[in-house]
Symmetry: D2
Subunit: 245 residues, 4 copies
């Protein structure tokens, strides 16, 4: 089944910093989209970036998006609150959201979690080893016992998030930290997957395992044709009894 995927990227680091630009010459979004393209032609892909019109996500695009992939870092504050409101409504109505790396501090992720989403971090070329702790989950499809990334930014616990509905990966870092690095959430009719790796200075989104996990996450987060709940006054048998004045 076809899944309409929009890969959203802040797209600032790559244009403002030559070192980063050398890692992702076409932008992080392009690398992520290329990974999804490889994963199969059931993805219909769009990319969107912060500096485009309507911050890349006009209503027509958002309404036509089944799963939104989100990478942001230094410009979280520039994303308009009105867009965040619309994103939240779309997620609760069924749109999947895949939040990557520093997207943990995006307005939309914090909105959906209700917590600060704070964590520890260190840029020190830690080795990261992401261990699978749920081998039955579709997001672990095709992955070995762990994914090893030779150099990454460290993210460490405590990670201020709600307890995940499903925890898929736990990361180990050279320096002595651990991190819940693959976290699944149900919210309304929608699903959210947070996946940790992908600091802008490392070629993480070219890693085949990372690409596979993102593709798995998109498939898992894709909407299902579940019920559209009705809310407010009612119930199948209402009115049941006339109330006294």
């Amino acid at each position: 089944m076809a899944i309409n995927v929009t890969v959203w990227n802040e797209f600032r680091h790559e244009r403002e910093d030559a070192t980063i630009g050398a890692v992702y010459p076409e932008g992080i979004h392009a690398a992520i989209a290329a990974g999804l393209r490889e994963a199969g032609d059931h993805f219909t892909l769009r990319t969107a970036t912060l500096d485009e019109a309507e911050q890349g996500l006009p209503a027509a695009v958002l309404d036509d998006t089944d799963v939104l992939v989100w990478w942001g870092h230094k410009a979280h504050g520039e994303v308009s609150d009105e867009l965040v409101d619309r994103l939240q409504r779309r997620i609760l109505d069924g749109m999947g959201l895949v939040v990557l790396h520093s997207g943990h501090h995006s307005k939309i992720f914090k909105r959906m979690m209700g917590t600060t989403c704070n964590l520890k971090w260190r840029e020190a070329n830690d080795k990261e080893r992401l261990w699978v702790v749920n081998p039955s989950h579709p997001i672990a499809d095709g992955i070995g016992e762990y994914i090893e990334l030779p150099a990454e930014e460290m993210y460490g616990e405590f990670f201020d998030i709600p307890q995940p509905d499903d925890l898929i990966f736990v990361s180990w870092f050279t320096g002595g930290e651990v991190f819940r690095s693959g976290c699944c959430y149900q919210r309304g009719r929608g699903k959210i997957f947070y996946f940790r790796p992908g600091h802008e200075s490392y070629p993480t989104y070219f890693n085949p395992d990372v690409r596979r996990v993102i593709a798995n996450g998109v498939r898992w987060a894709a909407p299902v044709n579940g019920p559209e709940p009705s809310f407010g006054i009612g119930g199948p048998n209402a009115p049941l009894e006339a109330l006294p004045e």
Copy 2:
């Protein structure tokens, strides 16, 4: 151990509607506080209401509150966003929150959940039977297999909340609905308990079982002396490696 409890109530229905005022002549907050007083002298009790100075919750009160009990309904929109911000910070720092009945639509509960918290409802004197689905949980202490309320407002699924960390009660209603009516959440260093019963027109907060559950919920939600996480750059071994320029 002493627990400082603040029972917050909107306190409008009881003053504006004589029928409601007859049910709760001193206000819903007074009935809830009386129930907690009965439950033991380990509770140090305060009440607070919307129309008091600083909406009843100046910083000095909030900072001295271990568990906040919240009842609101018709004036959710009047609670200031600044107060909601402070409540969220206090909860994430350890303050317990017990949200009652129509508090499901309070700004603070929606903020903490990240969802609409919408539901179905009907005022028709339904009988409500709250079944215990986790008999091992401290919130079920002293409760029988179910609590029966002869007449209550119906709340029905789908209740748009995150999946609870622990589900304690599921309600049955005459008219054919069910509802997840006792829901536990961890958020940051704090804990949240949502408990359904308590429409303003019924004497629900005089019911001994309801009072017992609220007291149990307050004890469960009371802060523990868990770690105060540090966030931001760092980690026990930082800096690990000097990064190249």
Copy 3:
């Protein structure tokens, strides 16, 4: 993708009781298999029954089964412990298990849960209404806000099971009970879905919604190509340090 499904049925009621035989003339397994056949040709279907050789599940069949659907009731005790051992191993290695109705008391379900799986029951033609409490889940695909069954056996809480990883349905019954009637579990590399309806004296397995849920459950429980964990002495860097004698 093709999924090899084996529908296992005790197949005693239908042969021993004319009333039941009239409801399911070819057996409950045949009705369930027919429902799966309708759902699409990605299912490769087998049926198996207790009185067949090796209780219907010789190793060759079990090893070739992606998802096993289980209906049993009056002859749970006759299922051999050796078969239960093999079922457990297969599930932990990835085979999905869909347990229906009175299968709650089967040896294999109790083995996987670690609890008694006891519940309340009543044969009284209750109406059952199964409310969807997770509209984002693939098992709710194509289902409305609730499924209504005009007459069913009642199952009531407390249902002595571990808290489900995902709770999909909660049932309401005429007589005043509720029940967690759609429960998902991860165990090892495998997944288990318990779905309540289907007393032998009612034509429940001809109901289109019930059939749809079973088909969804089978798809959800189908194995993924997740990692095959290694256990025992080892670890990627072992031996790390020679231990002193």
Copy 4:
């Protein structure tokens, strides 16, 4: 409130191996009990060992035990199946169980989990750092952001357990592994806490933080006076309707 705690230990390593005996001259059980004694006089303490009459746990002791702490390793197979049956019944009826370290492979833990409880291990003096991932939980009371153990046996994922209801600790090991090292489960009216540290060759049970966690775990797992469910035919309104013959 008084809690009757029985600390059960296999007590073989300490007697059979002089090196281990030097670490725990009075046995691991004595060290654990001493830690609990320090934690407060609300614990009424007993110890029990495998080679005592009735494997240390005659019915009178078991029935009088609120929380059972379990350490076993090399003699899991000697624990009688009949004792395991009784332990399971007691847990489902409310007795708390705290399983330590190699108790992951005990018959009773595997029985309650329904999985193999397999894991990776290595004896190589790894440093272990147990990070708190739920700072709101009573088991984290009085603990810092992490507990550091200078030398321990490594346990690594995949740990074949059901997803915990609450995950409290995640361990980091020098050699590159992670482990879900503090796991909470509800089963029936009872609660189970698995806590990883404590290989017999290290003085782990003299560590103040480890002792504190065990004491917290015992308090958390202590029975509450929740409902005693009735099972079988019934329900509050039964019989609802006479069924046709």
